[in-house]
Amino acid sequence: MDRLISRDQLCVMLDQVAREIARREAGICLSPVEPDGDGPVEAACTVYITFEHGMDGTLCLYANGAMFVRLAREVMQTDDLTPQDVADVAKEYLNVLGGHVLIRLFPEAKRPARFSVPVFCQGPYAPQSERRCIVLDYAGDKAEQVQLAYYTPMGSRTI
């Protein structure tokens, strides 16, 4: 079965995009760190998107509260934040990240790959019936913890 991309290629690309968008969106420098266990980081919150139409799988961003709050503070340039502000900024970050992932995967092809509206939820979310195949752990430059995980369904054609 032809795969869209190899796991290693997708891993490199996700890493590049995640760090680039964090820097450009909010001036946050994410540094890769060694994973600390097999499960999601002890996440205060999760924001995730589900790919469809030409790419499958779910991309989850886990982070402690400090990271999401800092992201919102930097983007909105205010300390006066509501929980809705934090959630909306996190969703927009993953929206932008997801778009850049697809553009890099399909730079010329006219495949209509899309992704769902980002969902923000409390605690660590993991999609049912999908396996974790890529996990990227980061520390923010102010000791925030972030994890990006890509899940694929069994029999995935993506990787």
Partner: protein, 120 residues
């Protein structure tokens, strides 16, 4: 008098970010529409100098919205904005008469240059 920008985007964060980018410039956000239908309905009332139009939105998308506005207002200046746009999307935007295309995340200098270019 500052030039008026209408921001069309289902994410309110985009509108907030654009307001920040436009601080201390000759532009200001005159209206925010969270979907295409609202943008079409309010264009006459707002009479923006430039519209920033997200592409992927619930309901009618940004391309269709831009097309409707341009049919009714051929002088409208619309810059398409998106985090996801394939080559055919950008080609379509050009074909319908959009004045530019920018990928998110927007950055101040390229954004201001695109606005100025759209006004030429």
């Amino acid at each position: 008098m500052k030039k008026k920008i209408m921001v069309v985007d289902d994410s309110r964060i985009s509108e907030i970010k654009i307001r920040k980018l436009l601080e201390d410039t000759d532009f200001e956000v005159a209206a925010y529409c969270e979907n295409g239908e609202d943008a079409i309905a309010r264009y006459d009332e707002v009479q923006p100098d430039v519209v920033t139009m997200d592409i992927i939105m619930p309901g009618i998308d940004g391309l269709e919205t831009a097309q409707v506005i341009l049919e009714e207002h051929p002088d409208a200046r619309i810059i398409m904005v998106s985090s996801l746009a394939y080559d055919d999307t950008i080609e379509e935007a050009d074909r319908i008469g959009a004045k530019g295309f920018l990928y998110k995340p927007l950055e101040r200098q390229p954004f201001l240059e695109a606005l100025e270019q759209a006004l030429i």
